[in-house]
Each structure stands twice: as structure tokens, then as C-alpha cells.
């Protein structure tokens, strides 16, 4: 197990270093590095993978003041700091769900760090259907709410065993940390910034995802100023990396090499340092 102290917080990470371009792999709300267990091995065909637990998640400590983070901006120094501490000044960012918005926020704030974003069922755009005080009310009982949420935003054809597995992920996360993630996600609105951003974006989305509907991923691709590609996975809900990991990786195997060849600034992407 590997830990690094970043800005006073002890962060857990898993590293699969093979000399390929570095990838910061970041879990969704209320989850941790375990959520990548079905795809991290195949991702090493393309990347040196650094999967990390955000502060307060999984095996990472909270930030020094103990408060849960409820804003993407407060996560950025930890992700970028960990990658820099490992010798990666420029890297590809891959994030699921709420971490898709985190990746875009990171690319906006630190464009020299982020060579490309791979967004898995994420968005930089809010949904008109969200709103009111719904996400604030979740603070009353975030663990139960999120457990039910995880269960029901899987695709309707996903195996019950995988649905159970996904729904249990949130039980490992403190309720206030879950609530912080939900708040950060609910505040996602990068629409005014997207046209000015030139970071290459690849979005892969489960087409049965009603939580972050595929239209939002597609719209984010249309609005960003840099090159972008959207790919939908049929019969998959909000968690392609757990619901259909082989199909997700088949899509990445097909899409990423050409996308990287055309759009990744390889000279600016440091090779992994061993």
C-alpha cells in the first residue's frame, strides 16, 4: 500500500507504472479506488495508472481541518499535488461521474497539468431537471439515500450481483463526505468556461444512465473548445467500469490510441518516472 502526504492529508494511491503516459484515475462520489478493480489492469495497456482515493474517501485521510470537501476547487490541490509528488507534471485525467466534473475543473484551473480528460458518465453541464432543495435534503440521510441511488442508477439489465456490489461501495464512505461529493456535483456548471477550454476530452457514457443522462456528456463534448469524442454504451447504466468493464475497455482500446495520436501533446506528457 502506498501513501503520500499532500497538503497535510495522507492520501492513498495505487500505482501501476510501466513507462506509458501517466493517468490519474479518480473514483465517483462516495466511492474509492476499489471501484476501478475491473478495469485498472487493462488501462495499463495505455497508461501508467495512478488510482487515488480523494481526501476522506477509502483509505485516504481527511484534509487537516477534518471537514468534508464540497467543492471541486478544494480537491484540485490534492490530485495535482499527488501527481506532481510522483513526478508527473502533466498527465491524463480519468474520472467517473462527479469526478468527470472534477477533471474538467482541474483542466480549467491547471491546463498545463492536464493533457486530456477521459470522462466516464460525467458532465460539465447541469441538468434543468435537477434543482430545488433535493440535493440539500440528502444531508438528512446521505448513506441510505446514496445506497438506494447507486442501486437504482445501474442499468436495468445489470446483474444483481454487480448492483449489490456497487450499492455497498458507499457504505465505506463517511456520510458527510458523501454529502460533500453530492454538493460538489450539484454545483457543476462549467458551461461558460467550456468553450474557452482546449483540453482534449473523451467521454464514455452508459446509455441507460438516467442519473447523469448521456445527453449531458454529449453536450459537454459539443461545448468544449478542444477536440472531443463521445461514445455511448448500450444497456449500461451509471457505472460502466463495474457493470460492463470488458465493453468499456473494448471501447477505450478502440478509441484512445487514435484520439491520443491526434490530440494528445505527447511531448508535453512526461513519461512516467520510475
Amino acid at each position: 500500500m502506498s501513501y503520500l502526504d499532500i497538503d497535510g492529508a495522507r492520501l492513498y494511491y495505487e500505482q501501476f507504472d510501466n513507462g506509458r503516459p501517466p493517468l490519474a484515475l479518480v473514483h465517483g462520489a462516495g466511492q474509492d479506488t476499489l471501484s476501478w478493480r475491473y478495469v485498472s489492469d487493462r488501462l495499463t495497456d495505455h497508461f501508467s495508472v495512478i488510482a487515488l482515493d480523494l481526501p476522506g474517501h477509502g483509505k485516504s485521510a481527511r484534509r487537516p481541518d477534518g471537514a468534508a470537501i464540497a467543492d471541486y476547487a478544494d480537491h484540485i490541490p490534492y490530485v495535482d499535488g499527488l501527481m506532481a509528488a510522483l513526478g508527473h507534471r502533466r498527465y491524463v485525467f480519468m474520472g467517473h461521474s462527479f469526478a468527470g466534473g472534477l477533471g474538467l475543473s482541474l483542466a480549467r484551473a491547471r491546463p498545463d497539468s492536464v493533457a486530456a480528460v477521459i470522462m466516464l458518465d460525467g458532465t460539465g453541464c447541469p441538468s434543468a431537471a435537477w434543482g430545488g432543495n433535493a440535493f440539500d435534503l440528502v444531508a438528512i440521510n446521505p448513506t441510505d439515500w446514496m445506497e438506494v441511488n447507486f442501486r437504482l442508477i445501474c442499468g436495468p439489465t445489470t446483474s444483481p450481483e454487480r448492483v449489490d456490489e456497487i450499492s455497498r461501495d458507499v457504505l465505506r464512505c463517511p456520510p458527510d463526505v458523501v454529502q460533500g461529493d453530492i454538493k460538489a456535483f450539484a454545483r457543476t456548471d462549467l458551461q461558460s468556461d467550456l468553450p474557452t477550454m482546449t483540453t482534449p476530452l473523451m467521454a464514455v457514457h452508459g446509455l441507460d444512465d438516467w442519473s447523469i443522462p448521456p445527453e449531458l456528456g454529449r453536450r459537454t463534448c459539443e461545448q468544449i473548445g478542444g477536440p472531443a469524442v463521445f461514445h455511448g454504451l448500450s444497456d449500461v447504466g451509471h457505472f460502466p467500469h463495474v457493470e460492463a468493464p470488458a465493453r468499456l475497455m473494448d471501447a477505450i482500446d478502440e478509441l484512445w490510441p487514435g484520439f491520443a495520436k491526434n490530440h494528445l501533446e505527447l511531448n508535453a506528457t512526461e513519461e512516467s518516472t520510475r
Partner: protein, 130 residues
């Protein structure tokens, strides 16, 4: 009791009775918090469900469960129909996307979230079996 509800309604007393049979079989129900849940397909009367210390029942009269936390889930026939027809995500999705209106004690509502989920599934299951 269902006779008091129009045939045009999807949410009937008979449907709720059949859903309660399914809820009674839920092995987790002894862990559910107590509340009285009104289900309303407007225009029409509320159907009242009492969840009380591990039991689930139709409210016997206006006073049954009146001392418990009160929750109402309200919608028109058109709004209820997709939920009862098995829209993936059920009442949870209805809450997130404001497909129905959830009224009453917000703390009780969120405390009962797993029960709300199971209630939506049971209603849809009973609706489908019919």
C-alpha cells in the same frame, strides 16, 4: 375502499393492498422507521399506508397513524402512471426529477428512504402482476 376511487385512477386501494402483501414479505421491514405515508393521485382521496414498528398496513381510519410522522406523495394519473408501470428508478427517480411531489416531514421522508424505494417497487410489482 377501492370502490371510492375512480376506475380512471391507476393508484387504487386494491393496488395498495396488493403492494402491502409484497412489503410484508420484505425481510428488512422490521428496521424501517415509523411514519404514515399518504399516496395521492389527484384529484382523489389519499390512500394511507402506516409503517409502524415493523408492520405495514392500510390506515384503518383517519386516526390510525395520526401520531406518526406524516409524508405525502402526490401526482396526477399521468404522473403516477410511468412510476407504476415500472419506470427504472421508481419513486427515487420521481423524487430526483420532480416527477411526483413529496410533501410533509422531510426528515421522516429521508429517514424512510429505503422504505420509499421498496414501496415504489412493490406498487410497480403489484401493478404489473395485475
Amino acid at each position: 375502499m377501492s370502490a371510492a376511487v375512480s376506475d380512471a385512477h391507476h393508484l387504487t386501494g386494491d393496488l395498495l393492498d396488493r403492494a402491502i402483501v409484497l412489503l410484508e414479505a420484505d425481510p428488512q421491514r422490521d428496521r424501517w422507521r415509523s411514519a404514515r405515508i399518504g399516496l395521492s393521485e389527484t384529484p382523489g382521496p389519499d390512500l394511507l399506508l402506516v409503517v409502524d414498528r415493523g408492520t405495514v398496513r392500510r390506515a384503518g381510519d383517519g386516526q390510525d397513524g395520526a401520531d406518526l410522522k406524516q409524508i405525502r406523495i402526490v401526482g396526477t394519473a399521468d404522473e403516477w402512471k410511468p412510476i407504476l408501470a415500472g419506470l427504472h428508478g421508481g419513486l427515487h427517480r420521481a423524487w430526483r426529477y420532480h416527477l411526483l411531489r413529496f410533501e410533509g416531514d422531510s426528515v421522516a421522508l429521508l429517514d424512510l428512504w429505503k422504505t420509499i424505494w421498496r414501496l415504489g417497487d412493490a406498487l410497480a410489482d403489484a401493478y404489473r402482476r395485475n
